[in-house]
């Protein structure tokens, strides 16, 4: 059976003044139709780069990306132009991601214009209004400029723009992080509705574990460019295996006063993956690190059914 | 800086070799025979191919030889450096006036944004950048020299002579400096660390001078450097107004006489001193801002030119609230 999206050993390195930045290092996953893969990690873990590389906004350094049974790794510009209809992106910052000098209507119509769709009469206008209805944006805003609208409405414009070409796969790069909680919930619900209606697949990138748990079918945890844990469904929250994921989970302040949980406090801070040393990248902050962790990079292993972890000591730590 | 200077020489050389006038005719007058003219051209090296002249000039330049003046037969270097101190003093004085007046008004204007003081100083600064300095100079002469008789109107022989020229050029510069200072300060005033300083219980004066000003200095210093360059360049005009015997005056005469070596030498010296000032300002940046210092000590040399630090004066960040 072929997956909608299959990413194999994807690597993306950036050249910097101080050496190669391993933004995405050996990432592998699959995504099926109507499925959401949540990618979680802290700043600098390479999650945004991953999304952009999958979309071809960055060239991949190594590895393969298969979409709908076709290898689309670093294909020609013309080919990617075709692929854009299938793959879209929603950005984090609803302020920076909209051209301040284009009206809402123009912004949503731009993809249609580029692909020469709905050229008859006022078809395009009708389509734009349809899209605005779809994302819950009042039609009276069609001639407004982005700066006249609030964050939630702006994010709806971004979503409408992404949906204009009727893609099958959307990369959602922290789509709700910049929004207030009450608006955040509106947008999350909208995205779930759209997924059902339009049969969409999401690569949902966020640093917010609660959000990712709420919306995802599969979850991948990244640390400094590498995957440390990947599991199906809510399995990750039921049996958390990787020490980093454990710490991440325990670090989230819960909106409840009846939990006496033991918080795991990590030592030190995130570094940046420039010319990383061999060994597990999490080792310097890990409470369970052994000398072996500093020598060899752990491979991703299927520890439980459909639950992959990259840790030398995963069995010992979890008593498996 | 050296490649830039070679480039400057090249630019000037190309331009002057395009010039339609003939220095030989200029020197010998209209009665000279063609043979005499040809001989003189040979003497001056004007018949050599362009590249040969350029290489010769650069070679001599490296030995401190800027050529010989066509009119006085003196070494150009000597002529220029006799007059250079005058121009340097004039420019520096003007810059000092510009810096003191401009920075002071800029600070007060920013601190008292939208008060009558701010509104008035902004209008004055706008007037200042709109007034042609040579005309302002003439007006000053009419009022203060011809009318009131306070200061001499021409020459540059002592403090009394310095006042009018320095004020003329300095006040125009002050307008630019004021606009830049104000907008740089306004950028800083809204920063969080200024709030932090106030939250510490620091007094307003200290907040302004030990927190706000140091952070606003980079664009201010940058614009001062640019004003110095403009002052040097503008000396060609302002020295005419006040009859100041500096490089500017020398060059104006040389241009009229097609005295190329002097023109070349003058442009070169002005460009060189402008570049040195810019270099000093680059070094100053590192002392003003530790972040720039660590960029320099980093592996990669950073190519950030001063002009990128200058914000558009008058541009205010979005509303306060």
């Amino acid at each position: 059976m072929s997956h909608l999206l299959e990413v194999k050993n994807l690597k993306k390195y950036f050249k910097t003044a101080n050496g190669a930045l391993h933004a995405v290092d050996d990432v592998t996953f699959t995504l099926d139709e109507n499925e959401t893969l949540g990618v979680v990690g802290e700043s600098g873990c390479g999650k945004s780069t991953l999304g952009r590389t999958v979309l071809g906004l960055h060239d991949a350094t190594e590895g393969e990306i298969w979409f709908d049974g076709e290898n689309i790794t670093n294909v020609s510009k013309a080919k990617f132009h075709e692929l854009r209809k299938e793959m879209q992106i929603i950005f984090q910052d609803p302020y920076a991601s909209l051209n301040p000098r284009m009206t809402v209507g123009d912004t949503i119509a731009e993809p249609l214009q580029i692909y020469g769709m709905f050229t008859e009469g006022n078809d395009r206008d009708v389509r734009v209004k349809e899209l605005m209805d779809l994302v819950g944006l009042d039609q009276r805003f069609i001639n407004s400029y982005p700066h006249e609208l609030d964050g939630g409405r702006r994010q709806r414009i971004g979503i409408a723009r992404a949906l204009a070409l009727e893609p099958r796969f959307i990369v959602c790069d922290e789509p709700v992080s910049a929004l207030d909680v009450s608006i955040q919930a509106q947008i999350l619900n909208l995205m779930q509705d759209l997924q059902e209606k339009q049969n969409l697949s999401y690569l949902f990138i966020t640093h917010n574990l609660s959000v990712v748990k709420h919306i995802s079918d599969k979850i991948m945890v990244m640390y400094l460019g590498q995957m440390v844990e990947l599991s199906d469904g809510k399995e990750l929250f039921v049996s958390t295996l990787h020490p980093y994921t454990k710490a991440l989970l325990s670090a989230i302040p819960r909106a409840s006063i009846h939990q006496n949980r033991q918080r795991i406090i990590l030592k030190g801070e995130l570094t940046s993956p420039i010319n990383p040393k061999p060994g597990c990248r999490f080792a310097p902050r890990c409470n369970y690190a052994t000398p072996a962790c500093f020598e060899k990079n752990p491979a991703l292993e299927e520890v439980l059914p459909n639950h992959f972890v990259a840790c030398h000591n995963v069995k010992e730590i979890n008593g498996l | 800086m050296i490649p830039v200077m070679l480039g400057v020489v090249l630019v000037i050389f190309v331009m002057l070799s395009l010039s339609p006038g003939d220095p030989a005719v200029q020197m010998l007058g209209p009665d000279a025979t063609p043979e005499q003219l040809e001989e003189l051209r040979d003497d001056l090296g004007l018949n050599d191919p362009f590249l040969v002249r350029y290489v010769k000039y650069v070679w001599n330049l490296l030995h401190g030889d800027l050529g010989t003046s066509y009119t006085t037969k003196q070494p150009v270097a000597k002529e220029i450096f006799e007059r250079f101190p005058t121009t340097l003093l004039f420019t520096t004085l003007a810059c000092i006036v510009g810096a003191i007046v401009g920075i002071l008004f800029g600070i007060v204007s920013a601190v008292k944004q939208y008060t009558w003081f701010d509104n008035v100083s902004r209008v004055i600064a706008l007037i200042g950048i709109s007034v042609p300095s040579f005309w302002l100079g003439l007006m000053f002469i009419i009022w203060f020299s011809v009318g009131l008789g306070w200061f001499p109107s021409s020459g540059f022989y002592g403090p009394k002579y310095w006042v009018l020229p320095s004020l003329t050029v300095g006040l125009v510069q002050a307008s630019n400096v004021m606009r830049q200072t104000r907008s740089a300060m306004l950028d800083v005033v809204r920063q969080d660390y200024i709030r932090t300083a106030r939250a510490k219980g620091q007094s307003e004066m200290k907040v302004i001078f030990s927190h706000e000003l140091p952070n606003a200095l980079i664009p201010i210093v940058t614009v001062l450097g640019m004003q110095f360059g403009r002052g040097m360049g503008g000396s060609i005009i302002s020295e005419q107004v006040f009859a100041i015997p500096g490089i500017g005056m020398l060059m104006t005469n040389a241009i009229g006489n097609l005295n190329y070596p002097v023109v070349q030498g003058g442009v070169l010296v002005i460009a060189l001193s402008f570049s040195i000032v810019n270099l000093l300002i680059d070094i100053l940046y590192a002392f003003i801002d530790p972040r720039i210092k660590s960029l320099y000590s980093g592996k990669k040399r950073v190519r950030k030119t001063k002009n990128e630090f200058v914000r558009e004066p008058g541009k205010e960040s979005a509303a306060n609230g």
Partner: protein
């Protein structure tokens, strides 16, 4: 800041209208615009409205300070100063606008190429700009003028060329910062071509700084040209360019101050107006600024 509910926006407000609406609020800027307008009209209609020709000499009426026939007086050759100033506005304004046009087109092109494509091309172009910028612009303009010889067209070219680095730098740096913005990436993501991104996304957002600089540049160009004629280069007499008139009046200015007062005042007012317009445009062109 911009969280307000927009009641209803049924009509599409064109960008130009929006800018004009904001520009109108700035009274000083509007005043500047009106003055420039008047000067332009005066320049066009000079032969009609000027009481005398610009070179009509009347040796029976030299050095008159004020009279009914000569509102702004006459010079030592008995030429009517007001008429000369009106004719002069033709020359000065033409120089101002055309030389900015030259600088804007070439400098804009250099800046756009440099900023959008970057790399070696950018390095080379910026090196050249560095070299030109090491020479103070007035010296550069004078040198070019010395090379090309005096005259109206050469003056415009000289002033125009000397302003190229300024425009190149401004456009380059604003393109560089806009290129980083997410909406440019968003345009790539929806399949926009390079040409489309430049035309629809980068240029409209980077022009405002350039427009502001250009309007102020007109003022600077007028001053540069006047300075050049003041030292005897550039425009030559009897052409009534304002700077040339100043230069001419200099011989008599100690006793007949009005001969330099009026031309200078005209330069000043024209330049001030352009600067006022520039300041007004700066605020009006930025949609993100406070309403």
């Amino acid at each position: 800041m911009a969280n307000n509910t927009v009641k209803a926006a049924p009509k599409k407000n064109s960008q130009a209208k929006e800018v004009w609406r904001r520009f109108k609020k700035n009274k000083l800027a509007v005043a500047g615009l009106v003055i420039i307008f008047i000067l332009i009209i005066a320049a066009i209609l000079a032969p009609v409205i000027a009481p005398y020709g610009y070179d009509d000499q009347d040796y029976s009426a030299t050095l008159i300070r004020f009279s009914k026939e000569h509102l702004l007086g006459t010079d030592n050759l008995g030429r009517d100063i007001l008429s000369r100033l009106l004719y002069g506005s033709r020359v000065s304004l033409t120089i101002g606008f055309i030389s900015v046009g030259i600088g804007l087109v070439i400098g804009g092109l250099v800046g756009a190429i440099s900023g959008y494509y970057g790399g070696v091309l950018d390095d080379i172009l910026m090196r050249i700009v560095d070299i030109i910028m090491a020479i103070p612009s007035i010296i550069l303009a004078i040198s070019i003028c010395a090379a090309l010889g005096p005259g109206l067209i050469n003056t415009m070219i000289a002033v125009g060329i000397s302003s190229i680095p300024n425009y190149a730098r401004i456009l380059r740096s604003s393109i560089l910062s806009i290129k980083q913005q997410e909406f440019v990436e968003a345009a790539t993501a929806i399949g926009a071509s390079d040409a489309r991104i430049i035309a629809k996304h980068i240029i409209p957002n980077s022009l405002s700084g350039l427009i502001v600089q250009a309007s102020m540049g007109v003022g600077r160009a007028i001053i540069s040209a006047a300075s050049m004629s003041f030292v005897g280069l550039g425009i030559q007499p009897p052409n009534p360019e304002w700077g040339a008139m100043l230069s001419f009046g200099r011989t008599y200015f100690r006793d007949y101050g009005y001969m330099v007062l009026y031309p200078g005042l005209f330069i000043f007012i024209a330049v001030l107006s352009m600067n006022l317009i520039g300041d007004g445009l700066r605020d009006a062109l930025d949609p993100r600024l406070k309403r």
